[in-house]
Structure formats: structure tokens, C-alpha cells
């Protein structure tokens, strides 16, 4: 049984602009997941996971590699990348996580307004990033997609879906989360 001090959330930016990760983002994650949030800088080379045919990075392979090279523990680790991610069967993903697992990955690539040929909006990017981090970490705690489109665990296929939902889980998902926290 892990001690409480080992149960933490680690945000692991990989060539990712740390200035986006505001105090508000850390506090919100701590409020939702009831554990301290730290930042770490893993040494991870993303090039082997690049698919030139798709001009994207394969998130499943990144996660697999990261699991192999990281000692097992009780912390939840969320990789943050700015590269465009895909899983082989899908055109893209905002992120990926292991259900009931330890690891997750979130990309800011399609969360940025510039991707849609619009003017950069850092505040909006931070909001979207926070929602996607909460969403993927939610999966690592066993939460599945929620039917409530305002719940953070609702699946996002577009940034509009992400913008529409809240940062927090709905009551039902919160109750499920509380059971495992």
C-alpha cells in the first residue's frame, strides 16, 4: 500500500512552454484530485514516434515507451506535448490515457487557436489544456466518458466540444472519483 505522500500528480512537459501552466491550473487540479501537483521535465525524445506519412506523433507508442522507461509508482503522470497526436485508427486525438493506469498524454497542438487560422489566445489555450488534462487524468482514475456534455469527462471531438464543457466533472463523475480518491 502506497503512503499518501506518494500519491501525487506530476505534469511532465516535453519541449512544452511551461509558462502556460499557471498557478490556477495547479490549484484546480489539486482541488479536483485532492493531491499535490508537481512539475517534472522528463528526458523524452519524440522523434522515434513521428509518422512522416501522417505528419503526426503516435500517442499510444509514446505512452508505451514512457511506461517502459519510468519506474512504477502511485503517482499519476501526465505528459504534455505540443506535437499533433494520433492513434493508428483515428485521424487525431487531443490526448490519451490508460484506464485505471498511471500515465496520460495531452497535446496542445489542436487546442491552439492558430491551428484553426485564428488569432492566438493564451487564456483560452490554458482553459482548454486544463480541461483536457483533467479529462485524461480522470481516465487514469477509472472515469469513462460521460453523457453530460457540460461534464469535463464528456468526449471532445472538436475544440468547440472542449469549450462547451466545464473544467469540473459533473456530480455523478465527481461521486465516482471520490470513491477512488
Amino acid at each position: 500500500m502506497a503512503s499518501k505522500s506518494e500519491e501525487k500528480i506530476i505534469l511532465a512537459p516535453v519541449h512544452f512552454p511551461k509558462e502556460i501552466l499557471s498557478r490556477h491550473l495547479f490549484e484546480t487540479l489539486e482541488t479536483i484530485f485532492k493531491r499535490p501537483v508537481y512539475i517534472a521535465s522528463p528526458k523524452l525524445d519524440l522523434h522515434p514516434f513521428f509518422d512522416p506519412a501522417r505528419d503526426q506523433y503516435q500517442s499510444t507508442a509514446i505512452l508505451k515507451h514512457f511506461i517502459k522507461t519510468t519506474p512504477r509508482g502511485e503517482s499519476k503522470i501526465c505528459l504534455l506535448v505540443k506535437e499533433d497526436l494520433f492513434i493508428p485508427v483515428l485521424t487525431f486525438v487531443f490526448g490519451e490515457a490508460h484506464m485505471y493506469g498511471q500515465f496520460a498524454i495531452v497535446s496542445s497542438h489542436r487546442l491552439r487557436e492558430q491551428f484553426y487560422m485564428r488569432e492566438e489566445n493564451l487564456k483560452l489555450l490554458e482553459q482548454r489544456l486544463l480541461k483536457e488534462i483533467v479529462h485524461e487524468l480522470g481516465h487514469t482514475f477509472g472515469l469513462v466518458h460521460c453523457m453530460d456534455d457540460r461534464c469535463v469527462m464528456h468526449n471532445s471531438y472538436t475544440v468547440e466540444d472542449t469549450d462547451h464543457k466545464n473544467v469540473y466533472p459533473c456530480e455523478v463523475c465527481f461521486a465516482k472519483l471520490d470513491e477512488v480518491l
Partner: protein, 448 residues
């Protein structure tokens, strides 16, 4: 809810299996993976899956072959084919074999998610449909003919034989024997059972309305036709038309009915447009139609068209052994309807019912049981509650020393006792009108 949905992913590429499994599990589905078609077949043989995502190009048995085997052996699984190389030929072949859909990798996540939800929704509808049909089948089983007598067993066999075909059936038998129940049993055992069963009581149709009731009418066809109305023939389209008391149909309607049966089309009153109709005809009569044909009051051609198959329902007095079952059935039905805790009938009361003549047949028995049920004080119906029936059958004395008038007096007395001195019922049994019965009672000094 989603965890009840079981999905199998069949792909030789590990990364595809893993990524798709992970992605679908995020939606809460139960997902399993197989590396080959052979492994998939083994898994499907042991567990039930709702849908399978199958890669077309795989070593060994390929995706199309696996699809064929799944459709052949496990047709309830919805199969979505996946390929990395879009090919119209492959897609066409997959759809021909019975794939639900065909996807080219990579998929748009929104599209796949929607597809899975659509498959689930369709399967739920299908399952609901099956459940509803089962419920209907269960409900329909209540439309059964009660009895264990050889006569009833023979009728049940005939119903079973004739139900599957589209043959016209003429059902004969006295009033109250259950001719309509036989017609219902035929309809509900036939392939038309999910379509309407339209009952037309020919004797109850007012003379002037027979045509409009059967054929329907257009708006303004006659005074009072404010709206167009479908007739019984149209209402029965696809199903069964049961013409009860067919012997009461007037000569003109006999001709019209024959034409409809021959041409299978009708024209509403006030219209010149003919409408195709497709229904099966069942008819019933308590009159001897053959005799009516000989007398010239019923068309011979119509008789032969209706009398392709004949079922005769015997009167209750000829199948006394069915009375206990019928009584038990009526009591349980009344108990359900009223909630009154009457559980059965005493042996003595049952004997009394068996000894009764039942001129009104099953319908009369049902009424008698209902009357006794209502007045029953305990858990069992006793002879006390059946006091309205004659205590025992009084044998008809046919001594040659008696005059005709004496025999008539005796017979009237017996019948009246059996009918609890109900004049209307007594007159009906005797086949005379009430006034004549009163006159005869006065003449012979019969009093209650």
C-alpha cells in the same frame, strides 16, 4: 450501461488493437482483442459479443472470410470492416457479405463514436422488438380453446393445420359454442397474426349501413358522409376478416362479398377508384348454410368459396368432460379481474354444472359461473350459488299414453325450471317468442 456492450477488435497489428481498445474503453465499453481470425472465432465461440471491428488484411484467414463465417455462425454480431487501403471492391464485397459498415484507417473519432452508438441503438431496438413480439406471443396464448375432450382436441388439430395456409374457413356450431374463439385461434396462429383481425358481425349490421360499413365511403358520398371512412375490408388489409353470422347477410351483400373475394379489390362508396385488398376470410354461422343453399337463401358460389375448410364446434352438452377445465379457467379469469379470492368449486357444484343441459353453450356456462362467483361467500363456489340452475335434469317422459298437450306442458315446465323461469331465455330455448310462451303458460296453468 456501456459496460454491457461487448466489442471485439480483430487486427494483426498490436498497436491498432491496443490503441483502439484503449480509445473504446474510455467510452466505457467492454473491449477484447484478437490477433488473428482464428483466435477471434475461438473467443466468439465462448463469449457473446455485440459487435466486432475486423481488419480486412490479416495473415491466415482474412477479414472477409472471417466476416462470412461470423455471418454464417453468429449472425447477431454486427461487423465493421477496417482497412488501411481504401478499395471499392473490398468495400462492396464486405457489404455484400453483410458487414454493417466499412472504415478506412485512420477514422474520424467523431464518426466512429457515432457509428458505435448507432449500432447499439439499433440493437436495443431490435431486442426491444423481439421482447415485444414475445410478449404479444405470450398474450396471444391466452386466446386458446379450453378443453381436453376428443372433439376439442380435433378442433385444435384442425386450427393448427389450417392456420399456416391462407385458406378460407367456415366455422359452424350452435350459438355460444365459441366459434369466434376458433376464428381468433386461427388468426393468431397464422402468419398474419401481427396484422389486424377485423370482426364483422353480419347479423348486427343495420340493413342500410351494411355496404358503407364493409366498403367504406368517400366524403360527400351520401347525406351524412362528412368524412371519408375506411370500410372493414380495407381495415382488414394484410390481416384476417372474420365474418360472423354470415347466414344473415342479405342477397345483395352476398353478391358484393363474392366479388370482393374473387377480385381482391374494393371500391369505396362515392369513389370510382378501386383499392387492392389482401386479407384472409374466416366465416361462421349457427345456421345450416348448406340447407340455406338448397332453399335458395344463400348463394351456392359464395358458400363454396367460404367453405374451403370446415370446422364444426360441438355443443357443450356433447363435451361435458370439458366443463371442469372451462369452470377453472373462468374462475381464475374472474379472480384476476376482480381480486375476489374465490379459488374453485365444490365437487357437488361441479356435478350440478355437468348435469345441466347448457342450451346457450359455453357462453351460458360462463355467465352462470360469473353469477355464482359474484355471490360466492367462501373460497369455493357451492351448489347454493348455483341455485338458479335446475337442481337436476328432469327426464322427458315420452310415454305413449300421454297426449301431445301433456308432453308440451311438461317440456315447457322443464325448460323454464332450467332457465330459472327466465321467460326470455326459456322462449329462446323453446324456439318461440315470449308472447307465445306466456300464452302457453297461461293455457297450462304453469306458474313460477
Amino acid at each position: 450501461m456501456n459496460e454491457n456492450v461487448k466489442i471485439l477488435i480483430v487486427d494483426d497489428e498490436l498497436i491498432v488493437r491496443e490503441s483502439m481498445k484503449g480509445w473504446l474503453e474510455e467510452d466505457g465499453y467492454h473491449v477484447e482483442v484478437a490477433e488473428t481470425a482464428e483466435a477471434a472465432l475461438g473467443m466468439i465461440g465462448e463469449k457473446e459479443f455485440d459487435m466486432a471491428f475486423v481488419d480486412i488484411k490479416m495473415p491466415g484467414i482474412d477479414g472477409i472470410e472471417l466476416l462470412k463465417r461470423l455471418k454464417d455462425q453468429y449472425s447477431t454480431i454486427d461487423v465493421v470492416m477496417m482497412t488501411a487501403y481504401a478499395s471499392v471492391d473490398n468495400a462492396v464485397e464486405a457489404m455484400k457479405v453483410g458487414a454493417y459498415d466499412y472504415l478506412t484507417k485512420p477514422f474520424d473519432p467523431d464518426y466512429v463514436s457515432m457509428m458505435v452508438r448507432k449500432i447499439i441503438a439499433r440493437r436495443q431496438l431490435e431486442q426491444e422488438n423481439v421482447r415485444l413480439k414475445e410478449n404479444i406471443e405470450t398474450a396471444l396464448k391466452h386466446v386458446h380453446i379450453i378443453g381436453e375432450s376428443p372433439a376439442i382436441k380435433a378442433i385444435l388439430k384442425q386450427v393448427e393445420e389450417v392456420a399456416v395456409s391462407d385458406t378460407s374457413v367456415l366455422i359452424g356450431g350452435e350459438s355460444g359454442t365459441g366459434k369466434e374463439m376458433v376464428a381468433r385461434a386461427i388468426h393468431y396462429a397464422s402468419p398474419r397474426r401481427f396484422e389486424p383481425l377485423v370482426v364483422v358481425s353480419c347479423g348486427a349490421l343495420p340493413e342500410g349501413l351494411v355496404e358503407s360499413e364493409l366498403f367504406g365511403y368517400e366524403r360527400g358520398a351520401f347525406t351524412g358522409a362528412f368524412y371519408k371512412k375506411k370500410g372493414k375490408f380495407e381495415a382488414a388489409n394484410g390481416g384476417t376478416l372474420f365474418l360472423d353470422e354470415i347466414g344473415e347477410l342479405n342477397a345483395k351483400m352476398q353478391v358484393d362479398l363474392l366479388r370482393v373475394l374473387q377480385e381482391r379489390e374494393i371500391t369505396r362508396i362515392g369513389s370510382n377508384k378501386s383499392i387492392k385488398v389482401d386479407f384472409r376470410v374466416l366465416a361462421a354461422s349457427n345456421r345450416n348454410l348448406k340447407e340455406m343453399v338448397e332453399e335458395g337463401t344463400f348463394r351456392e358460389d359464395l358458400f363454396y368459396r367460404l367453405n374451403v375448410f370446415n370446422i364444426h364446434v360441438p355443443p357443450l352438452r356433447e363435451r361435458v368432460e370439458d366443463i371442469p377445465l372451462l369452470v377453472e379457467y373462468f374462475i381464475s379469469m374472474l379472480r384476476r379481474q376482480t381480486g375476489k379470492q374465490v379459488e374453485g368449486i365444490t365437487a357437488q357444484a361441479l356435478n350440478k354444472l355437468k348435469q345441466h343441459g347448457w342450451p346457450g353453450n359455453v357462453r351460458e356456462l360462463q355467465n352462470a359461473v360469473e353469477r355464482a362467483f359474484v355471490t360466492a361467500k367462501g373460497k369455493l363456489i357451492t351448489t347454493e350459488e348455483l341455485a338458479f340452475l335446475a337442481p337436476e335434469k328432469i327426464p322427458v317422459v315420452t310415454s305413449p299414453s300421454l297426449s301431445l298437450a301433456e308432453i308440451e306442458k311438461m317440456h315447457i315446465e322443464n325448460v323454464l325450471k332450467e332457465c330459472d323461469y327466465n321467460i326470455s331465455m326459456g322462449a329462446k330455448v323453446l324456439g318461440i317468442d315470449r308472447t307465445t310462451l306466456y300464452n302457453k303458460m297461461k293455457k297450462y296453468g304453469i306458474e313460477k
